[in-house]
């Protein structure tokens, strides 16, 4: 009787030991991912003299919140944010609409060359943006769109591969009885798409919206190539420009970085599952 009890006690403590080591390991990895962000925030609240000292001071006391006001004075941050929102919202609306249109044709209309066209579309995903940026730049120049927001928006209105693929997968999973019933009731093809498919696929459309919004917000290559005047800049290129101007003012650079990260952080916390789902779905069917 005593022996068995001892075994159980041993087992219990072994379990506790395993739990503690599991959490220790998870927390250690977690610190690697969180500490840089904490350091960013702490640095953004320091005086210039407190940044450039060794060994570094961890907690700024008192916190210099005025760094944030200063950076808003030094660069038109609010204008950059408005530009970023404008570009992201307009490109995402167009992308979700055109991707769902193309996805509907691929999922529900039989036409010759469908598989070939779909494969071509998927193949375009393979090439990095740098492979095509020069000809696209020339097109934009020809159209007189340089230093406007159009080059950052209009290409997204042409059903990119990732979104089309994502929505097509979802449309394929919808039962065909739905549209048969609607057709008997005299509903047109576009009516079926607009009144049945779109409302039913709100979750996947939101998923694509969140994913594309973050991608557009974080893009640097296109804004750097197309925008030259200060007033047109989005947040990413504005921040990069600011870095060139105030290269060692780390307390200001860190407040700028914190400000630029904040909207995405909020969006991530609110819509985390949608963003994660976009990645998950792309991986499962890849």
């Amino acid at each position: 009787m005593r022996r068995i009890n001892l075994d159980e006690v041993k087992k219990y403590w072994f379990k506790v030991f395993v739990r503690i080591s599991q959490y220790t390991l998870l927390s250690f990895v977690g610190i690697i991912f969180v500490l840089p962000f904490i350091w960013m925030l702490l640095s953004s609240l320091k005086l210039p003299g407190e940044v450039m000292i060794y060994p570094p001071k961890w907690i700024p006391y008192p916190p210099v919140w005025s760094n944030y006001l200063k950076i808003l004075e030094l660069m038109p941050f609010s204008m950059f944010i408005v530009n970023s929102f404008k570009v992201a919202i307009l490109s995402v609306i167009g992308e979700v609409f055109t991707c769902s249109l193309a996805a509907y044709a691929f999922a529900r209309i039989k036409f010759p060359g469908r598989e070939f066209l779909f494969l071509t579309l998927i193949m375009t995903m393979m090439f990095p943006g740098q492979v095509r940026i020069i000809p696209v730049f020339m097109i934009m120049k020809f159209l007189g769109w340089l230093d406007t927001h159009k080059p950052l928006i209009v290409p997204f209105w042409t059903a990119a591969a990732f979104g089309t693929f994502l929505i097509r997968q979802f449309f394929l999973s919808l039962p065909s009885e739905l549209e048969d019933a609607a057709r008997i009731d005299g509903c047109s093809r576009f009516g079926i798409y607009w009144k049945i498919f779109v409302p039913l696929s709100i979750p996947i459309l939101v998923t694509l919206t969140v994913f594309s919004f973050i991608t557009s917000w974080n893009d640097l290559l296109n804004p750097v190539v197309y925008l030259s005047s200060y007033r047109k800049m989005t947040l990413t290129v504005g921040l990069a420009y600011f870095r060139g101007q105030y290269s060692v003012k780390w307390e200001l650079l860190m407040s700028g970085a914190t400000l630029s990260v904040l909207p995405m952080l909020i969006l991530y916390i609110v819509a985390q599952r949608y963003f994660v789902r976009a990645i998950v779905l792309s991986g499962l069917k890849g």
């Binding site: 350091w39 570094p56 393979m126 020069i134």
Partner: protein, 303 residues
């Protein structure tokens, strides 16, 4: 493309109706492929045979741009940087996220919090992260050298300012930013494995390690393959890191081919030469992806 459509439709004339019905839905996508996605890849190929600075008229120079590349030591240095980056970053972004996914796939309280934290850098912009890490890498006042010295008693390096450490520094930072993405893909793959497989293995007396090698890995192999493909493509795209942190320096030690395309095109306006580099970049991605698809049959298990 249109030839192909015609060829396919010879035997099935009825479907022409479908094509006319489908075209309105596909117009934006067709414009996209021709103008923004597929067409420009071909246009890059053509421009690579030109000498063009966008001011004077373009001049046909044949394969001159490629000959210039081959004889330029800087080109070979750039290729070397690119392949060092890929050689380190691709294996690391296949393995590290797998371990992370295994770690956060355990049934523990608060595990969702850890998942969210590991994923956090993915949603933030490379510009902000690049700035942050430039500050962390600061040789005098940066956190990394401070921690190395105070915790491990290792004297730090000049990271981004040294030709030896700059490229590894960028690789480490990029991995830190991106491993969460692949972790999520793996996690979905792991959670799709039916629990019965493990139960059956358990009954047959397999231990945890055997279960991992004989159940988890084979079933996960299509996911690993997918992660491999996207990691290769992603690793050829290193641009933002170099743009923000090092401008390709010091002494071109962090200039990769994507950054070189950008520099040649939009700093020096050597459009023909830049397109030549872009074609090389496309060729590299194409060849490696083809090799990956050829060899996948040997190790990817489709159940």
């Amino acid at each position: 493309m249109y030839k192909q459509v015609e060829k396919l439709s010879i035997g099935e004339k009825k479907n022409w109706k479908g094509l006319f019905e489908a075209i309105p839905y596909l117009i934006p996508m067709l414009i996209g492929i021709i103008v923004f996605r597929g067409g420009p890849v071909l246009a890059s190929l053509i421009i690579s045979f030109l000498k063009w600075d966008m001011i004077l008229a373009p001049e046909w120079v044949g394969i001159n741009n490629y000959l210039k590349m081959a004889s330029d030591p800087l080109f070979w240095k750039i290729m070397r940087n690119t392949f060092i980056y890929i050689g380190i970053a691709v294996p690391a972004s296949i393995t590290i996220p797998l371990f992370m996914a295994l770690a956060v796939n355990q049934k523990l309280k608060g595990i969702i919090l850890f998942r969210s934290i590991y994923f956090l850098p993915v949603v933030t912009s490379m510009v902000a992260i690049g700035l942050l890490w430039t500050w962390l890498y600061d040789p005098q006042f940066g956190l990394i050298n401070y921690l190395l010295e105070s915790v491990f008693h290792i004297s730090g390096a000049w990271w981004l300012q040294s030709t030896k450490w700059a490229l590894p520094s960028i690789i480490i930072m990029s991995l830190w930013k991106s491993v969460g993405y692949n972790m999520v893909i793996y996690l979905a793959g792991l959670q799709a494995i039916p629990q019965q497989f493990y139960e059956a293995g358990h009954i047959d007396g397999a231990n945890k390690r055997q279960l991992f090698w004989n159940v988890t890995l084979p079933i996960l192999s299509p996911t690993i393959f997918f992660v491999m493909i996207i990691s290769v493509i992603g690793s050829f795209q290193v641009f933002e890191q170099a743009y923000i942190m090092t401008q390709g320096g010091p002494a071109y030690s962090t200039t990769t081919i994507s950054y070189a395309v950008f520099m040649q095109a939009f700093q020096y306006w050597h459009m023909g030469y830049a397109c030549g580099l872009a074609v090389i970049l496309a060729g590299c991605v194409l060849i490696i992806t083809l090799i990956n698809f050829t060899y996948q049959r040997r190790w990817v298990f489709y159940g």
